[in-house]
């Protein structure tokens, strides 16, 4: 019906992902409306269905993208810095600079947790944490497992508290220093 607008969008899939990201940033993943995303992207309300199947499909695609970005961020941090604590800081910084992605990543009921690409992206990010923890306490792998868990819990929890608004950095300080003050509390050995 809309004359002058090309029938075939250039890259509608990416446009929908970006639009959805904006909507999630505004009202959270739970309140995401497919029709609203379609409206903002200037397409019919059924266009997203073709690319993502349903709402869970769209959110799963966003979550997968998020885990991939997180894995990239952790990789970059590991290459620049030898410290395990800094890896945790990178985790928290990712969460606060990509709040929409992170919100979708930890919305279990809204995402298809058994999606193949999702699981692969999660494992890619998890491997980065494992590698960092291995350097942290050189020793036994069984000990390293709980090191990873403690570190992951710590940074995941801090990220969650920040995004849920339960905690915010003191005026004058930034998220990075707040995260650093917390991650350095983890003792390598118990």
């Amino acid at each position: 019906m809309l004359v002058g607008v090309p029938y075939h969008h250039g890259d509608l899939r990416r446009a929908l992902l970006d639009t959805a990201l904006l909507a999630v940033a505004e009202h959270g993943p739970a309140a995401l409306s497919l029709r609203d995303v379609a409206r903002r992207a200037g397409v019919s309300h059924a266009a997203p269905t073709h690319h993502f199947g349903d709402k869970a499909g769209l959110l799963t695609a966003l979550a997968t993208e998020g885990w991939t970005l997180l894995a990239d961020a952790l990789t970059e941090s590991a290459e620049q810095n030898r410290s395990f604590a800094e890896l945790g800081v990178a985790y928290v910084l990712f969460a606060t600079t990509h709040p929409a992605h992170f919100a979708v990543m930890r919305a279990p009921g809204l995402v298809r947790g058994d999606d193949a690409e999702l699981v692969a992206a999660q494992q890619r990010a998890g491997a980065r944490l494992d590698a960092g923890a291995g350097r942290h306490d050189g020793g036994a792998t069984s000990h390293t497992a709980t090191t990873v868990l403690a570190a992951w819990s710590l940074v995941h929890g801090l990220s969650a508290l920040l995004l849920e608004g339960m905690v915010s950095p003191e005026p004058g300080t930034d998220v990075a220093t707040l995260a650093r003050s917390v991650t350095t509390r983890l003792s390598p050995r118990s």
Copy 2:
């Protein structure tokens, strides 16, 4: 008003809360349907409106109840046990034994975060953590603040990872020992 049996249904408000809890446990807070709750409770689809205003009202009431229960659990743990690490274990145990409450508690977009009773209940639980941390590192309060934050992040994160299904205890061990192995990694001084 009406301390006894409020007219037709016994105590509809409590019945709706309990029913909503079941629904949340099954499909998460985001998928909660007011009409479904009303159906299960055997009342008309508009009955919940009178008690909670709207969907956010119902979830806010559940979140408030959850924070109150958490404060109670932390209080009980503090009375029985002097260890700060055990307070963290109690936090994680609360999250895993009341998954529906905990899920609603950390669903920021679905709950009215500025509700007076909600905020009061949150602060009551927070005060319990503060008290425990104060005993942990007797010293300067500015140092204690980051101790609380680190501990809270740790147990909040572990709870989240457990409920999101990203982590589960090894076969043969339970959540408590898993939590203990993690909370004991927190060094009292950095």
